[in-house]
Symmetry: C2
Subunit: 163 residues, 2 copies
């Protein structure tokens, strides 16, 4: 996996490998811990985000706006994880998170008045678009709408998703 090497990590924390290997048995164990933590934080963040919101369309809009527009500042680690797949533990968590997210989107779309099947399709569309958007944000941000263009993009997307 990339981005989780223990020697550089230890150095960046101002400590050493010796310390690390006291707390973790393995690099495997570090990955598991990071993964578990990521999965929990991610669901917490989502729940916290949509808790105080009203139901239906506005909740969905808030979510989508937060995800697409704010994304530059608080990047999701999904993409890195997805790219670093091939690791069994990663794949397992990733699949679970993916399912939950798509299911949640589909539920919201049903609540917004769509039929079951169509809601699912659009949930997949929205979520895959989110993933691709994240990918582009970090690989080639120049090709993406930013600022008010991004807002207009979200507007268009919302209209499309809930039409």
């Amino acid at each position: 996996m990339a981005g989780l090497a223990i020697e550089p990590l230890a150095k960046s924390l101002g400590t050493t490998k010796g310390s690390f290997y006291w707390h973790f048995r393995d690099r495997e164990e570090l990955i598991s811990a990071a993964l578990e933590r990521w999965e929990n934080e991610e669901t917490d963040a989502v729940i916290a985000m949509l808790g105080p919101l009203a139901g239906g369309r506005s909740r969905l809009r808030e979510l989508i706006t937060a995800i697409f527009v704010t994304h530059g500042e608080v990047p999701d680690r999904s993409i890195g994880l997805a790219a670093a797949a091939g690791h069994p533990a990663v794949e397992e968590v990733l699949e679970r998170v993916t399912r939950r997210r798509i299911d949640y989107l589909a539920e919201e779309l049903v609540a917004a008045g769509l039929g079951e099947g169509e809601a699912r399709h659009r949930a997949v569309l929205a979520y895959t678009s989110y993933l691709g958007y994240s990918t582009l944000v970090r690989s080639t941000p120049g090709a993406l709408p930013r600022g008010e263009q991004a807002a207009a993009f979200v507007d268009s997307m919302m209209r499309l998703l809930t039409s």
Copy 2:
């Protein structure tokens, strides 16, 4: 970068490093060559795919279907490249390819009758969705619609994009 190591590559080709370093000066040069080749092949493939097709909506549909449904068999390397970004040469090519693809989609959508701005938004939506879809295909295919569900997904997406 991941997946382009020269020692494993040489071994998998039944040759050695010595041979490699005769043909290429650097690992850098290999990456450049692979990148250039990828960019060309990719445009060729797209052009070849849409050449014999009729204009307007059917061309777009063909493209989208090919991309989403057939994708399991002939995976695009974009994702791997995008993930392996940070490399300047990769970013440059990737941004060029991304722009061209989104531009092309927007053109097709304009040809299908949409306004300029809306076409661009939907092109971004379609392309980011494609990228995310590809990511999920290789990371957690279980969370995606496959088979006729995939076809229904493409149907839904086409209706949405050209509505």
